[in-house]
Point group: C2
Chain length 152, copies 2
Amino acid sequence: METKGGFYITQIKQLQGRIFERLLIENGIEISGGQGRILFILWKRDCLTVSEISRETSLAKNTVSIIVDGMVKKNILTREINPVNRRQTIISLTEYAKSLREKYEMVSQQMNALFYEGFTPDEQQEFEGYLARILKTLTEIENKEKKCKKTQ
Amino acid sequence: METKGGFYITQIKQLQGRIFERLLIENGIEISGGQGRILFILWKRDCLTVSEISRETSLAKNTVSIIVDGMVKKNILTREINPVNRRQTIISLTEYAKSLREKYEMVSQQMNALFYEGFTPDEQQEFEGYLARILKTLTEIENKEKKCKKTQ
DNA sequence: TTAAAATAGTTCTATATAGAACAATTTAAA
DNA sequence: TTTAAATTGTTCTATATAGAACTATTTTAA
């Protein structure tokens, strides 16, 4: 069977990212895609380590580190060493970041409406169920690979 | 309703990309994700313009231009001006690129198997149907935006 | 209790990605 | 036919992204 799920996913990610960023700018929010993903996680639960953010966003650890850099410079996040475990860096939201949340979520909803145009709620739910399954599979594969690497 | 299709898509794209690249390297194929997407299109139909590749991959035109640059340097593609319409650049596969196809597609199949682990053929088909619908919607949105911009 | 292993982050390097501005060419309109 | 508009690519700049190698800590084991 000729399938192209991966190709579709990449294309959708591309388009979606560009459209969402324009929508954000139109609404006066200067937050890029990568930054938005980190905020999305931190708005749910503040004060996470770099590794936790990496896990939740599926971004590589060093990528998170770099994006956080930029966000600290823009006064969106703060960085501090965890005194209890000094290997860890705790990333927290600034007041400014907290103030962005409501507006950002409104734009997210707009984006969502575009994304799921023509979908019934049931279809949406089913589709997201599939996505969640794939995400789980791929996450497990990557974790397994990491373990193998260590054993070598 | 709280949905997060876009977030899932981005995460899956990330993971999938990393896993696929490792798989390619393990199989001795030195082709990156972005390069693979352009090859995927050109293997189906050779000798396309930059704009056509941009349309088929959903990559921005300038992104295609840059990635093609790298691939020309690596003797994967050739670039030549279309004598009939000298604004256009025709991108073609080299013999080397053609020789990579079979192996690349084998790895793609492996990746596919991982991606769809636990999916029945019907589920796969349904899922890809959803993806195709979303891709269509987003493509239309972006094209509309481009038109609006011109009118301004 | 000290040496080895594991964990957490960062830096370095390279590619991917896109917006804005631009140059070259072709097409449409006056 | 000559000028304005549209099309096609590229360059410039900035951010996103990840692998590899590294430093600093903490944990484990001998």
